[in-house]
C-alpha cells in the first residue's frame, strides 16, 4: 500500500506539471499518425526484383537482410551480372506472397555496380588481348545457375522463399549468346514479410510512390524512426519530470512529514525511485503498445516482441534515473540533477558509440582480410591495422565497465528489426555479428543502477534533515 501511495503521489506530482499530459498527448499524436498510414502490397514483379541488383545498388533483399552487418554492406560482392526479365504466375493467386512464380533471369557479361572480389562472370575486356576480339571462354551454365541461387540464399535460409529449381533456357541460333534461366520460386508463410509494399498517407488516399520496400523493412524503418525519436523524447522528458521528484521530496518541511511516517528511509527512497520508473513504464507502455497495435492493424504484421521495448526503454531510463536520484539526494537541486543526468547520458552514449565504431572497424578488417585472401593479395601490414591498437583496447575497457545505454539502444533496434523480419527473437544472433553480449550489458548496467541507488540510499539514511 505504501508503494502505491508513493507511486500515486509521484504520478500526481508529474500530472501537476502538465509535462506528463504533454507526454501522453504526444504519444497519442504519434499513434494517430501511425494509424493513418497504409501499407499497400505491390506486384510480384516488384518483389522478385528485390532479389536482383539494379544499376545503382545491390539487391534490396541482400541489404535488408544484412542491415545489421555493416562489414557485409561495405565489402559487397560483384552483383551486376543478372537481370530479372519476366515473372510468371504458375500456381495460386496473382501477386500473392503464397503463390509460386517462374522468373526469367538473364545473365550479362557486363560489370555493373559493385566492388570487391572478382565478379561472378569474368569481364570480356579482361580476357582479350591487344587488337584482338574478345575471347569468350565457354560458360559453365551450371555454375552460373549456382550463382543465381546465391541471390536467394539468405532469404531461403530464413524461409522467406523457397527456390524450386533453376534451369537454363535453351535459345535458337538467333539468340546465340543470350543466357537465360528459369527460376521457380515458391511462397512461404513468411514471404509476405519481404513482399514489396508501398507506403501511403491518410489511409491510402495519398500513396507515396517513391517509398516502397519489403514490408518488414518498411515496418522496421518506420517503427525504428517513431520509437527511436519517441523514446528519446520520452526519456528526456522523463529525466526532466522525475528530476523534480527527489529534490521536492527532500524540501525542508516536506521531508520531515515523510520521515516521521513508519517507513524506513531506504524503503522510502526505493519506492520513490520505483515510482519514477513506474511512471516511465506506464507512459512507455502506452506509446509502444499503441504503436504496436496500430501498426499490427494497419499492416497485418504483429511484431509482438516489440513490446519488449517497454521493458528495455524502462531499463534504459532506470540507469539515468538512478543517476538523477543520486544527484538529487546529494544536491537537492533539480537543475543540477537534470544537467548531470543528461551529461552522463551523453557520456555513456559516446562511449557506446565509440565502442560500436571500434567493433565495426575490427569486423571490417576481418572481412577485408578474407577478401584479400580470396583475391590473392598481400595481407594488410600490422602498422596499418586497428585491431590490437591500444586505443581500441582502452575503448573496450571503458565500455566494459560503463553503464551500457548505447548497447540498450542497439538491443532495441535489433529486437524491432528481428521481430519485423522473422517474428522470432531467437533469430537475433542471425542478424547481428557484433560482439555484444546482451546479458552482460544488462548486468553491468544493473550493477551501476545498484551502485547509484545504493549510494543515494546510504547518504539519505545518514543525513540529518
Amino acid at each position: 500500500m505504501k508503494y502505491f501511495a508513493i507511486l500515486k503521489d509521484s504520478m500526481r506530482e508529474a500530472r501537476d506539471s502538465w509535462i506528463l499530459i504533454g507526454l501522453f498527448a504526444l504519444s497519442t499524436l504519434v499513434i494517430i499518425f501511425v494509424a493513418q498510414l497504409s501499407f499497400k502490397p505491390l506486384s510480384a514483379e516488384k518483389t522478385m526484383g528485390y532479389f536482383f541488383p539494379s544499376d545503382f545498388q545491390g539487391p534490396v533483399i541482400f541489404q535488408t537482410l544484412n542491415n545489421h552487418k555493416p562489414e557485409k554492406m561495405m565489402v559487397m560482392r560483384g552483383w551486376g551480372n543478372f537481370r530479372l526479365n519476366k515473372v510468371e504466375l504458375i500456381r495460386g493467386d496473382a501477386d500473392s506472397p503464397l503463390s509460386d512464380y517462374a522468373l526469367t533471369v538473364s545473365a550479362s557479361d557486363q560489370r555493373r555496380f559493385g566492388f570487391g572480389p572478382e565478379p561472378m562472370i569474368a569481364h570480356d575486356e579482361e580476357k582479350k588481348g591487344p587488337g584482338q576480339e574478345p575471347k569468350r571462354p565457354p560458360v559453365d551454365r551450371k555454375a552460373e545457375a549456382g550463382e543465381i541461387r546465391k541471390l536467394f540464399e539468405d532469404a531461403e535460409n530464413l524461409n522467406f522463399i523457397k527456390v524450386g529449381g533453376i534451369e537454363p533456357i535453351a535459345h535458337g541460333e538467333d539468340h546465340k549468346g543470350l543466357r537465360e534461366y528459369r527460376v521457380v520460386v515458391q511462397g512461404t508463410p513468411n514471404t509476405h514479410r519481404i513482399w514489396a509494399t508501398e507506403l501511403g498517407l491518410v489511409f491510402g488516399l495519398f500513396p507515396i510512390e517513391f517509398i516502397s520496400a519489403p514490408l518488414a523493412a518498411l515496418m522496421y524503418n518506420l517503427a525504428t524512426l517513431v520509437i527511436k525519436v519517441g523514446s528519446w523524447a520520452a526519456v528526456l522528458l522523463g529525466v526532466v519530470i522525475t528530476a523534480f521528484f527527489i529534490p521536492n521530496m527532500l524540501r525542508k518541511g516536506t521531508i520531515d512529514l515523510l520521515l516521521v511516517k513508519p517507513i524506513s528511509r531506504s524503503l522510502l527512497l526505493s519506492y520513490k525511485y520505483l515510482g519514477g520508473l513506474t511512471f516511465i513504464f506506464l507512459s512507455t507502455a502506452y506509446a509502444i503498445a499503441g504503436i504496436w497495435f496500430v501498426l499490427g492493424i494497419r499492416s497485418g504484421l504483429w511484431a509482438t516482441g516489440t513490446l519488449l521495448l517497454i521493458l528495455t526503454i524502462t531499463f534504459f531510463f532506470a540507469i539515468l534515473y538512478a543517476i538523477s536520484t543520486f544527484v538529487g539526494v546529494m544536491t537537492r537541486s533539480v537543475v543540477t540533477s537534470i544537467l548531470l543526468t543528461v551529461a552522463a547520458w551523453i557520456a555513456f552514449s559516446s562511449i557506446g558509440l565509440t565502442y560500436t565504431f571500434v567493433d565495426m572497424i575490427e569486423r571490417m578488417e576481418k572481412e577485408d582480410d578474407k577478401m584479400r585472401q580470396m583475391m590473392g593479395q598481400a595481407e594488410r601490414p600490422q602498422e596499418k591495422r586497428w585491431a590490437g591498437h591500444w586505443v581500441l583496447t582502452a575503448v573496450r575497457v571503458i565500455h566494459a565497465i560503463s553503464p551500457r545505454t548505447e548497447d540498450l539502444n542497439q538491443l532495441n533496434d535489433l529486437i524491432v528489426y528481428t521481430d519485423f523480419m522473422t517474428g522470432n527473437l531467437g533469430d537475433m544472433n542471425t542478424f547481428d555479428n557484433s560482439k555484444s553480449v546482451w546479458w552482460e550489458s544488462l548486468l553491468v548496467s544493473a550493477i551501476w543502477i545498484g551502485i547509484f541507488v545504493g549510494l543515494a540510499s546510504l547518504w539519505f539514511y545518514f543525513k540529518d534533515y
Binding site: K2, R12, D16, G253, D256, L259, V260, D464
Partner: protein
C-alpha cells in the same frame, strides 16, 4: 511510565552543539511546552524523538521504545514548524496520502478525513489544491494530518503560527479535547500566551540546555509578592507593617507586600484582622510566561528593571490556595 523521556540527550551538528545534555520527562495526557529562542534546540529535540535526526547521544525514549524507530513513529503525530505540503495535493488527497503511509485502512481514511477536515474548519475547501490555501488554512491541514491516525503523542512545532485568533482558539480547544482523551501533546511555540493557556508544564531551552522546567503556575508565580486589597475606605497602615519587618508599598488602591526570606504572609493577615480591617483581596502576584521567558534569557543585571515595568498579569487566587502552596513548598 513517562510517555517521553530523555536523559542527558546530546546532539551536535558539526561544531555546533544543538542539544547539550537535556533531561526531561513528559507524562501521559500532559500538554508540555518547550520554549526557547531560535536555535535553542527545540526543533532538534523533536527531530531526535521522531528519528528525523540521528547521531545523538544519551537516552531518548518515546512510548517506552527507543526514540525514532519506525514502529513508534506510527503512534505519533507531527506538525513541523516550516511545513511545506506538496501543493499539487488537495487537502483531502494529502491526508489520504499520509494516511496510506501510516497504514490507515482505506475505509477508515474515507470516513476520518472529512471528519478531521471538518474539525479544523476547512471541509468546504478539502478538494481544492493546497496552493490555493492561505497560511492559516495550511496550518489547519497540518493539524489535521497530525491527528488523523489518532496518535498517542503529538508533536506540534508552532501549531498556531499564521492562524487567526478564532483559528487559534479552535486549535486550543481541539488540543484540550485531545488531552481529555489521554493524548500527550508536546508543543514548541513562540506564542507564549498560547502556551500559557494550554500547557501543563513548560521547559525553557537555551543554547541546547534546559534552564527552567516546571508547571506553568509554579514558574510564573512571583513567590513572596502579594497584593492586598481592603474594604472600601480602609487604608493599610504601611508604616506599621514596615515596622513589623515587611516591605509594603502602596499600589493605586491596593498594596504590595514583599516577603523576605523566612517571612510568611499569615502574620500580615493576622495583623490586618487584629486591627479590625476587612481583607477583601489577597493574591500572590504572577508574571506572564513571556516575562518569565525574557527574564530567563535577558541579561539579569542590565535588563531586570525594564522587565519589571512590563509585569502586568495578575490572577486572583484564594488565600487558602496560597497557604497550601506555601505548605507544599
Amino acid at each position: 511510565m513517562p510517555v517521553l523521556e530523555t536523559t542527558d540527550l546530546r546532539k551536535r551538528y558539526g561544531r555546533i552543539e544543538a542539544l547539550g545534555g537535556v533531561t526531561l520527562s513528559v507524562k501521559e495526557g500532559e500538554i508540555y511546552g518547550l520554549l526557547g529562542q531560535n536555535g535553542a534546540g527545540k526543533t532538534t529535540l523533536i527531530k531526535v524523538m521522531l528519528g528525523i535526526t540521528g547521531g545523538w547521544e544519551g537516552d531518548a525514549f518515546l512510548l517506552g521504545e527507543v526514540a525514532g524507530t519506525a514502529h513508534v513513529r506510527s503512534r505519533v503525530g507531527y506538525l513541523p514548524e516550516d511545513h511545506h505540503f506538496p501543493d499539487y495535493h488537495t487537502g483531502y488527497s494529502l491526508l489520504d496520502f499520509y494516511g496510506q503511509l501510516l497504514g490507515v485502512s482505506s475505509a477508515t481514511r474515507a470516513k476520518r478525513i472529512p471528519d478531521m477536515l471538518e474539525q479544523v474548519g476547512i471541509a468546504d475547501r478539502m478538494h481544492y489544491k493546497i496552493r490555493t490555501y492561505s497560511k492559516g488554512m495550511k496550518q489547519r491541514v497540518g493539524i489535521a494530518q497530525a491527528l488523523m491516525h489518532r496518535p498517542e503523542v503529538i508533536f506540534l512545532d508552532e501549531p498556531t503560527d499564521g492562524v487567526d485568533p478564532v483559528g487559534r482558539r479552535d486549535i486550543r480547544e481541539t488540543l484540550l479535547e485531545l488531552k481529555k482523551h489521554g493524548v500527550t501533546i508536546f508543543i514548541n511555540s513562540h506564542l507564549l500566551g498560547e502556551v500559557e493557556l494550554i500547557c501543563d508544564r513548560v521547559a525553557i531551552l537555551r543554547k541546547g540546555k534546559m534552564i527552567r522546567e516546571g508547571d506553568v503556575a509554579t514558574l510564573t508565580r512571583q513567590k513572596g509578592r502579594f497584593l492586598i486589597g481592603l474594604a472600601p475606605g480602609q487604608v493599610l497602615p504601611v508604616a506599621e507593617i514596615r515596622n513589623l519587618g515587611y516591605d509594603a508599598t502602596p499600589l493605586e488602591d491596593r498594596w504590595e507586600v514583599h516577603l523576605l526570606d523566612g517571612q510568611n504572609i499569615d502574620a500580615v493577615v493576622d495583623y490586618i484582622r487584629n486591627k479590625g480591617l476587612n481583607l477583601r483581596h489577597l493574591v500572590e502576584k504572577r508574571q506572564s510566561l513571556e516575562d518569565l521567558f525574557l527574564e530567563t534569557h535577558e541579561d539579569q543585571s542590565t535588563r531586570r528593571d525594564k522587565k519589571r515595568d512590563r509585569r502586568d498579569t495578575v490572577e486572583p487566587i484564594t488565600a487558602v490556595e496560597v497557604h497550601e502552596e506555601d505548605r507544599r513548598s
